[in-house]
Symmetry: D2
Subunit: 401 residues, 4 copies
Amino acid sequence: MTSSHLRPTPAADNQPTDFSSSPLLAKYPRHNMQDGAAIKVGVLGATGTVGQRFITLLANHPWFVLHALGASPRSAGKRYPVAVNWKQTSRLPAVAREMIVRECKPELFADCAVVFSGLDADVAGEIEAAFRAADLAVFSNAKNYRRDPLVPLIVPYVNPSHFSILRQQQLAHSPPLKKGFIITNANCSTTGCVIPLSALEKAFGPLESLLVTTMQAISGGGYPGVPSLDIMDNIVPFISGEEEKMEWEMLKILGGIVKNDDGARAFDMHARTPLRVSASCNRVPVIDGHTACISVRFSRRPPPSPQQVREALVGFTCDAQTLGCPSAPRHAISVHEEPDRPQPRLDRYYQDGAGVSVGRIRQCQVLDIKFVVLANNVSIGAATSSIINAELAVLKGVVGN
Amino acid sequence: MTSSHLRPTPAADNQPTDFSSSPLLAKYPRHNMQDGAAIKVGVLGATGTVGQRFITLLANHPWFVLHALGASPRSAGKRYPVAVNWKQTSRLPAVAREMIVRECKPELFADCAVVFSGLDADVAGEIEAAFRAADLAVFSNAKNYRRDPLVPLIVPYVNPSHFSILRQQQLAHSPPLKKGFIITNANCSTTGCVIPLSALEKAFGPLESLLVTTMQAISGGGYPGVPSLDIMDNIVPFISGEEEKMEWEMLKILGGIVKNDDGARAFDMHARTPLRVSASCNRVPVIDGHTACISVRFSRRPPPSPQQVREALVGFTCDAQTLGCPSAPRHAISVHEEPDRPQPRLDRYYQDGAGVSVGRIRQCQVLDIKFVVLANNVSIGAATSSIINAELAVLKGVVGN
Amino acid sequence: MTSSHLRPTPAADNQPTDFSSSPLLAKYPRHNMQDGAAIKVGVLGATGTVGQRFITLLANHPWFVLHALGASPRSAGKRYPVAVNWKQTSRLPAVAREMIVRECKPELFADCAVVFSGLDADVAGEIEAAFRAADLAVFSNAKNYRRDPLVPLIVPYVNPSHFSILRQQQLAHSPPLKKGFIITNANCSTTGCVIPLSALEKAFGPLESLLVTTMQAISGGGYPGVPSLDIMDNIVPFISGEEEKMEWEMLKILGGIVKNDDGARAFDMHARTPLRVSASCNRVPVIDGHTACISVRFSRRPPPSPQQVREALVGFTCDAQTLGCPSAPRHAISVHEEPDRPQPRLDRYYQDGAGVSVGRIRQCQVLDIKFVVLANNVSIGAATSSIINAELAVLKGVVGN
Amino acid sequence: MTSSHLRPTPAADNQPTDFSSSPLLAKYPRHNMQDGAAIKVGVLGATGTVGQRFITLLANHPWFVLHALGASPRSAGKRYPVAVNWKQTSRLPAVAREMIVRECKPELFADCAVVFSGLDADVAGEIEAAFRAADLAVFSNAKNYRRDPLVPLIVPYVNPSHFSILRQQQLAHSPPLKKGFIITNANCSTTGCVIPLSALEKAFGPLESLLVTTMQAISGGGYPGVPSLDIMDNIVPFISGEEEKMEWEMLKILGGIVKNDDGARAFDMHARTPLRVSASCNRVPVIDGHTACISVRFSRRPPPSPQQVREALVGFTCDAQTLGCPSAPRHAISVHEEPDRPQPRLDRYYQDGAGVSVGRIRQCQVLDIKFVVLANNVSIGAATSSIINAELAVLKGVVGN
């Protein structure tokens, strides 16, 4: 790995993320995959749907070994199979069958180099802060810190360059942290969309505006989540807070990081070329897989043709792939030529849910280009993103044993 | 009825439709509701889903009496209950239980003042033409003649002014027709959208562009139509020909009629202020009711506010109501204040499916205003439109006993 | 009305229910429909799904007028439209739009001649008891008192003869009640099945055993009820307590009432000819309408033929019809000849959901006869039953103004 | 492998299937897995849903190599990806991407040691007969020959002993066949049920009667199959021919083979202890996975307890496992202790769909024991069965290169 791989994709931070002189890197040299030392990880919110997904993905992970499971006091002390209402289509992994659920207290996760949080938003704020304060590295799926000006909101195929804010996050803590931080992944509907959008910005320069209408799966609402009486034979054209999240998160993710005169870094929110985003979010009777119809207008005139867009998406590669994240898919974006794809039921398992599928790339009569995106909200839209973020962190040397 | 009620809603044809000197009107004076004479009607494609819907709606109609049912030669000669695979949630109406299905030949429908066609597109072209040639008035749900430059494409709450092209259609026939013509209704997804859009143009002047993403019910695909394996737990982001239909039909319907120098009338396709329409059509696992997320940009600067749009939609009335069409709903548009409405399962039965529901009226970050529309595709999106069109034709004196 | 109409249908209580000498009847002479005096009714649990259904049905009731709505303290004091999350496909009735929700306290319902309870089981026990103690007539949809040896469990087309236990219920209270009592309706899955089963016992004598497998709609689980993640593209072969309820309730309903030596009445639980019932209950992804596959064995040898069973079901009439209950359907049982009916989506609205549909009557290779039953769980399976029970009570003179 | 492994499971044919003196075995000695020679296989009906499933399963098979694909003349000559409308959730396997579809003519499959048929019943009869006549070994998923008195109907975990009829099938042909035969698998709903039923007969002796109510997935109806309008929010309590198939096939499969005086073998249809089977079949809105509620009565008095039944099912092993069929699951039956399992969405992928799941084992009030069975109709209920049947045939030496 050289730092040249780490150039930010579409955005303003053109200084390579320089960990080489970082006290972090001094302390945690780049993980050496050859040494075979497994990295101990914990999962907070282990009995919830995102937690179950973390456990499923971590059960056979080449680097990470499941070491501690945390849940509510009600579950703490029980064997995991007793505490959980397992709702995955795969069986409960052997590794978790004998584990005893712990309370979500930092001291009980002290030997975890990485802590994944699948906590609900109502408790995530306090617990994740406590874990960070205990100098633990937290990779969160919750929304609580996404808008924090020092917390990177990372979609692993898009903006790993935002890792560069971490040092500042640590120094802002009192006392300054050595290893602890919080990294969040993005909202499930944001994640699927920004991946192809970042590919377009990488290829054709900044977008000027985009209109997205989502059709989101029920699993995005958690468990018990959406009542069946609300969604069978129905559409709910509203998901509380979702449109605001998409419109805001996209700017943070697709934007870069600027350095102020005093050397402090800050997210620029795509400010050099303002990007207008309009989202309409719908809940649909689909179990897994968020579909989005997107229309974009480029700053560049004339805009790229549908064929050029197609080629840019087909050719897209990202740091998570080139750096060698084990959970990164071979193709982050699959481009469909069939007129009626992608479809959630047929395409959500693409690359085990770690890839996104794009289809129907065509001219838009109002903006420039329109297309359809499908992303598996429970994989790349949730736990998978956090895990690849953690893999990136290992490769960048900011976490490790 | 005075001709002043017939002013075209948003468009260029400001000349009142003048039937007063029409040979039609001389022959068929305005239907006098007091005389109690029922108007005999026939239904083509009577065993299909649209045909079944026509029969259900006509069973208790105050003016129209079901007189003849036509279907394929395979069904002809059978009692209707034997020929049909009845799929409505209401029982087969008594009036149809003893009727014998006829072949779709004009001579077998000679005494019908109105013929409704629920024929499939593959046979509608030829049969409807033959019926018109036999001087019969055809109200078609099929797509075949929608693009014909002399056939009006009428959404009854929007452009009854387009009736004015009919005389020209009759004269273009050789020999000229006295009573026969074809009127089509619009595609089910077009219909729901143009109703609020026409209300906006009526209130605020022409639209400049609009972006619509639909989530369309399976019943829009007919029977057997969409295989369950294609749509359960799934979205199909493509409906063959649908986007083109929406983009084209909206221009014809929302446009006006212009008179050329030689006095000939022609559809102007919204030409005075070009309107750009971009449609993305999706099939979703909903039984009845098409939902659409629409963003619009007005020509007028500054554009109306969400509140002004709300008031314009709430206050919308149309000729079908003021003229007294018995099937016209009391409110053509229902505006929802709840954040999560309209929803197909809860709102598709509004006004027996003859009204459309609009909700979530709000600012769009890219265009001006966005909102959600729901229309019952099997009611106002299909048979109900044709029936109100025929009611309008009676009130305008162009059909009758 | 003569008492001869009141003979119990299949069971042991052959003494006509004699209200003529009842203090009840003295005080509340048979409701005279001609006097036009409306009967004031209250609804407990008015914001819940069953409560909403009560309100919908009562809005246009010829006898009953909605007078008071009760709900939790959280809702009390609010206008009903504000307190409720209205989930019906019909609009909130005008009568309820200005009503202020009350707490569920008897003194706030003192002038209601009838109180319908749609309360959840966790609060129904205490509240219904308090209402009865305040001498109010409670018609409950909750399960709490169904097993009470003095509370009749009445399916209105089956066992109105069980009203005869009421006096004893009143006398058992301390101090004895004059007007107050509790009548429960049956579990939604029980109700649909016992209607045709009682018709069979009426025609062919006692059943000896029956095996029923249900496929129950999600609305049977209330709101929010069944999570969509549990039931989309799925079957849950278990509904807590449901099989026990069906197996027990059927015996109480299909059984008669016996008089002990001391004159006390008691439910005989079909004891003279023991009936074995085996139920398997499944939740299926259907919104409304419980389907049941039933196999029965008769005591009578040889058993009736499928054709005889068909005729018995077609010819079935019941007291609720002959006495003139306004909500009783013209046909309590609809028998289908088509091989693939009844189906919930097509047949659940039969008679506005007050009728049950039976089809596929045929030989069973193991027991005698098998068939399929469909009943609308939110209508005849819930609120509609309670309302017809109250209508019966009016006709029998046990309630009234 | 010794013939002792081949003892029939529950039935009358106690003579080991003796292939040792068979001309078949002489010509095709037992497949030696060590020699690494792949066995060439063909798939008929390759573009259909069952055909697609065969291709998916065969793509990575350790013994079989996909050699020829057959479909209708319309598809013949095209590259497979062009001819097929691929509907699997996994991508089209690489091995099939360059194959050219052939017509279903025996001479085009002459070098296939095994031919799998996923043909539709309307063409399977003639084509499969032609293939057999050309001395090819056909493993059919079609229903056409299931009732043939010389064709074994084999559920691989249940009655591989029925292979013993094959020689007679070959000799009955004129001229006698050397390698060619037809073996069918069972109807998808039959298969799932007979597996635990055979385990019960193996453990506790013959069943006397059984009542089964199925809830069958839409994929059982093929593609396009069940129209979405028929099954969304609905149950169809009828599947044409299905109940008859289940009632008949169970007898053939659970029965044994008897030798007549002249040495001829014949299926005894469970005749020594007549078994009464009553099936009620329903189509439900589930994509994959047939659920069945089964009640059984044993001949043995007293019958086994639920706990004994549980243990018998847990302990069940079969020849397909002990002989070493590579596609046989480690556990053919998974017994659930949770009260609400098995569920199709969660359990249909158990052992890649090759295992069946049983739950809710409990007393039946009418017969002896009842329980719920779930089987993946597209795996063990279809292609997987045929493939394991072919693996058994290899191990028994009746097919091979």
